[in-house]
């Protein structure tokens, strides 16, 4: 019998979460870390198997009456999302190790919710059945809602509700399309099916396809988050703990761009081409708006949230350029952004744990008293602004190249976003870290990074540099999937994608 690796991978953190329901109190953190590490190991095994060419698809009937399957599978995109999830989760647990007991909720609950969320996200990324995907996609809201509402700032309950209502509204719009797909599959093929591979073969009519695609797209736009449906993110990131924000922005929001590629492009190629001009404009607006709003933010957590909105704009731009290099860049960006945002949020978490505030104005001159912390912060920031040598640079360049080969003007506007990125990152660094040592810095920053914090930061920065210098390891996995997506959509690459045309 073959081992159902994918189910196993998703179940490990779930078992961990259930185990934490026991009154383990002080052991909770260790136990949670244990399960997170085991998950990471299984995740790495699964990735190796995938890269080695093993067929990992699993299919068991789930609700036969409705043609829904327990169908899990991997492609070049989902395997990277899996690796991102399993690597970030233990880092988040480690970073939030000292989560104060002061709130109403014990750290044990935090750890259990993180593991529950990890399990649901893994299944979301692996689901090859639309209903199954929807189920896990919506279910991730439950632990995330409690993570935001249970741990963090004063107004966290309101932020949690805002997050929930936005996500739920988006998700329910998608439900219309999910229901519609089931009905359409029955009408077109005689038997209902939700299996992605079966659905992709259906000859869905143009108008209906467009409507159904819009249903999916709205949910993913909310999730991604793109302007104008982004307003929940800054509020949420400001109130949640940095660790929660990493999970939210680094992992969960990726479902938005992930879904655009897997479901919008995969199921409705014609409709996706049709909607592309709108999406490109929305992406450009997100890039510029996010960057400008980040420059104007006075709160570090909010600032990073806005930079993410800008970065998600790049990812969406890459998808809707319909070029192999653009889609590849976009998928690679999803991975890089996960790590670089995690680095930024977690370092800011270290700052907050010392200073007790996330306001930019409460810092200044930290560089002199906590040089290691400042160094890590700078590295994370440079990764955020996509400095060459950092992994984000490669993906951002690929997205721009894709955009340029399709049409030069979106690339030109997006380039403005990269300039603004330099502004918000360097301004942030300058305001918080450089300058004369302020009283706040000298009283609060008596300790530099401790061993635990270094263990959080070091692997993240190592990954960022590794992917920056050797992007091939990820791109080799991504490229076949991106090429397959583009050929499925039926939009052949423009000739000479790297700027040779126009002579």
């Amino acid at each position: 019998m073959t081992i159902p690796w994918l189910t196993f991978l998703g179940l490990v953190p779930l078992v961990g979460a259930v185990t934490l329901l026991l009154p383990v109190k002080e052991l909770a953190r260790v136990l949670g870390m244990f399960f997170a590490v085991i998950t990471a190991v299984v995740g790495i095994v699964v990735t190796t198997l995938y890269v080695g060419g093993a067929a990992l698809a699993e299919q068991v009937p789930w609700i036969q009456a409705f043609g829904a399957w327990w169908a899990l599978g991997l492609n070049g995109m989902s395997v990277l999302m899996v690796i991102l999830t399993v690597l970030l989760t233990p880092m988040v647990l480690l970073a939030e190790w000292k989560l104060p007991n002061a709130g109403r909720w014990s750290p044990q609950v935090f750890v259990a919710l993180v593991l529950f969320l990890e399990s649901l996200s893994l299944f979301t990324f692996m689901a090859d059945d639309v209903l199954l995907f929807y189920l896990f996609f919506e279910a991730t809201l439950i632990p995330m809602y409690f993570l935001i509402g249970g741990f963090g700032g004063e107004a966290r309950a309101a932020a949690a509700l805002k997050f929930l209502l936005f996500s739920l509204a988006g998700g329910l719009v998608m439900l219309v399309s999910v229901v519609g797909l089931g009905v359409v599959s029955t009408e077109l093929s005689g038997t209902p099916t939700y299996l992605l591979s079966e659905l992709a073969k259906l000859p869905i009519g143009t108008d209906l396809g467009r409507w159904l695609m819009i249903g999916f797209l709205v949910a993913f736009i909310v999730k991604a988050p793109m302007v104008p449906l982004h307003t929940w993110l800054p509020t949420t990131a400001e109130q949640a703990t940095p660790g929660t924000s990493v999970l939210l922005v680094g992992i969960l929001d990726k479902i938005g761009t992930f879904g655009m590629i897997k479901f919008c492009l995969g199921l409705f190629p014609e409709a996706s081409l049709w909607v592309a001009p709108v999406m490109v404009i929305l992406a450009l607006i997100s890039i510029i708006y996010g960057a400008v709003a980040a420059i104007g933010s006075s709160n570090l957590l909010r600032l990073v949230a806005y930079t993410s909105i800008s970065h998600f704009g790049f990812m969406v731009l890459g998808i809707y350029t319909f070029t192999t290099v653009g889609v590849s860049g976009s998928i690679f960006y999803m991975l890089n952004h996960g790590f670089s945002t995690a680095a930024l949020f977690l370092v800011i978490g270290f700052l907050i744990s010392r200073r007790g505030s996330a306001l930019v104005s409460d810092f200044g001159g930290v560089q002199k008293v906590a040089p290691v912390l400042a160094g890590v912060f700078l590295m994370a920031g440079l990764s955020g602004l996509a400095l060459p040598g950092m992994s984000s640079f490669v993906s951002e360049f690929m997205v721009m190249a894709g955009a340029w080969s399709r049409q030069p003007w979106p690339a030109a506007v997006a380039a403005l976003g990269t300039v603004l990125a330099a502004v918000y990152i360097l301004l942030m660094y300058q305001r918080t870290m450089t300058g004369p040592v302020t009283e706040a810095a000298s009283t609060h920053f008596t300790s530099d990074l401790n061993a635990r914090e270094k263990w959080v930061a070091a692997p993240l920065l190592a990954i960022i540099l590794l992917l920056g210098f050797v992007p091939g390891i990820a791109l080799d996995v991504i490229n076949p999937t991106a090429a397959a997506t583009i050929s499925h959509v039926g939009a052949p690459d423009p000739v000479a994608p790297f700027g040779e045309e126009g002579k």
Partner: protein, 518 residues
């Protein structure tokens, strides 16, 4: 004139007869058994009879005994089996709540002496003597037997008689609250007056439909619709009146006004019984009357019911937003759920040979998921108490998550199911009824329903916010309940989760047997 003697299919009827017999035995127990032993005998009789009825039902199902019963006045088909099974299970679970005495220091939720004027000397004497109202068990069993017949009725007269057998005991039960008795009696009076009015409408409808078709039988009515002798004016008027009677029972707008008052006034165990079992039986009757008897007129009633479905969902959830009382919130939520069920009724999808969603199968699933979440929430309502009894204000539930994480988690699970969040039965139910409606050509109704779902989510999360993110209120405690409350609570929660993760079995079963015998 030639009158043939009716034949009785005893085996097939056994589940109903067992419940009815138990109800009559219960009356005899009230008369013959000494007061200290009544409670235990009544509860024992109730549990034994319902389990026996369920066993008999399963035996019938295994032996595939189907067909029309008692000269085609009732019909035992797939939907009837499902409805009976659900009614017996939910009847048992909610009647267990009736027997809880540990929460209120050895007293049930029912008045010691319902006949005594509130605040009078006889009342306090009865209370001091620790009298108990054990008549509630036979009353509830009578009502349950009426529900069983109602859900399987195959002609309008049987439906009407069953409706009354089901309703009359409920009017009494609603009036018997131990605390807040005036409120309880007012609720009962309101319920009775409006219920009687709706019955009158129903009866009038029967007369008109009889005038049109010359028969009470659903099959004959359906036949006369496809081959009418008289003009359709009688039919349309009759149909509207039948609809009023039935929609009243499921609490659909604009016939919903009694629901919040009665839910709040009635003792909580009775509310649970009504919220689940009455709704279940009434929805099955709606399906039979509209699908079997009036199926040929569906182009006429679909727009009407679609309008009512929209009103019911929207008004249900919008008013629920403003509620500060948990029982009222559950009442408006129950109204909105009636709306979601009507969405599938309107679709009137018969499904396909491949087994795609039929309206009946999806509604059975929806009602089951709703029932389990409802029984768990009402069991929880009986457990949250302060010195004056149950605490119904949502503000009073604040901080419950800290005080009793287990109970709060169960309530949260039920709320997630009501809101239709995945991993709970409520999600699969919603998705199933939406699919059925879309299949029936009512995609626009699905979109309205989804909008209502977003608002509904806010309502349910309000409760979750209060429980988990609020500060605990002094004096509010979670009572130590006995198994009579804990069993419904745990079963409700476990089943909600089970139906969310493994809905296949019930859906497949409902799809396989979900066709009406005509």
């Amino acid at each position: 004139m030639n009158i043939t003697a009716p034949t009785f299919e005893w085996l097939e009827l056994a589940p109903v007869l067992i419940v009815l017999t138990a109800a009559i035995l219960g009356v005899i127990i009230e008369a013959a058994v000494a007061r200290p032993y009544r409670m235990v005998s009544q509860v024992g009789l109730m549990v034994v009879s319902l389990v026996a009825a369920l066993a008999m039902l399963i035996d019938n199902f295994m032996n595939q005994r189907t067909g029309t019963l008692v000269v085609a006045s009732m019909v035992l088909d797939g939907p009837a089996y499902l409805a009976w099974a659900a009614l017996l299970v939910f009847g048992l679970l909610s009647l267990l709540l009736f027997a809880e005495r540990r929460l209120a220091n050895g007293a049930t939720a029912f008045a010691a002496s319902a006949a005594a004027v509130p605040g009078s000397l006889p009342e306090s004497e009865a209370a001091v003597a620790r009298h108990e109202h054990t008549e509630v068990f036979p009353l509830a069993l009578f009502s349950l037997s009426g529900m069983l017949v109602f859900a399987a009725a195959n002609d309008l007269i049987t439906a009407f008689v069953a409706l009354e057998v089901m309703s009359l005991p409920l009017y009494l039960l609603s009036a018997m609250s131990r605390r807040r008795r005036l409120l309880s009696q007012e609720a009962a009076l309101k319920y009775f007056l409006l219920g009687a009015l709706s019955s009158a409408f129903f009866l009038f409808g029967i007369a008109l439909v009889y005038g049109f078709s010359g028969s009470f039988g659903f099959r004959e009515i359906a036949a006369s619709i496809s081959d009418p002798v008289y003009g359709r004016g009688l039919l349309y008027t009759g149909m509207a009146f039948l609809a009023i009677g039935l929609l009243f029972k499921i609490g659909a707008v604009p016939f919903h006004n009694w629901v919040p008052d009665v839910y709040v006034g009635a003792p909580t165990p009775v509310t649970a019984f009504m919220a689940i079992c009455t709704k279940l039986a009434a929805v099955m009757a709606v399906l039979r009357v509209f699908f079997v008897a009036l199926g040929g007129e569906r182009w006429t009633w679909q727009p009407l019911l679609a309008t009512i479905a929209v009103l019911t969902m929207v008004i249900g959830v919008v008013i629920a937003v403003a509620q500060t009382d948990i029982k009222r919130l559950l009442a408006y939520s129950s109204i909105s759920h009636a709306g979601f069920i009507l969405v599938a009724v309107v679709g009137a999808s018969v499904g396909t040979a491949a087994g795609a969603s039929s309206s009946v199968a999806s509604i059975v699933f929806y009602l089951t998921a709703y029932g389990f979440a409802t029984i768990a929430s009402f069991a929880a309502v009986t457990m949250v108490r302060d010195a004056a009894g149950e605490v119904h204000s949502i503000a009073g539930w604040s901080g419950l998550g800290r005080r009793n994480p287990f109970l709060a988690s169960v309530v949260a699970l039920a709320m997630l199911s009501f809101a239709g969040i995945p991993l709970t039965g409520g999600f699969i139910g919603k998705w199933a009824v939406f699919t059925a409606a879309w299949h029936g050509g009512f995609a626009w109704l699905v979109i309205v329903a989804i909008v209502a779902s977003v608002v509904a989510a806010y309502v349910y999360f309000k409760v979750i916010i209060a429980m988990f993110f609020g500060e605990p209120v002094a004096g509010v405690e979670v009572g130590r309940a006995s198994a009579f409350t804990l069993v419904p609570l745990v079963v409700g929660a476990a089943a909600t989760l089970y139906l969310g993760l493994f809905p296949g079995q019930l859906l497949d079963l409902a799809t396989a047997v979900g066709t009406f015998l005509r």
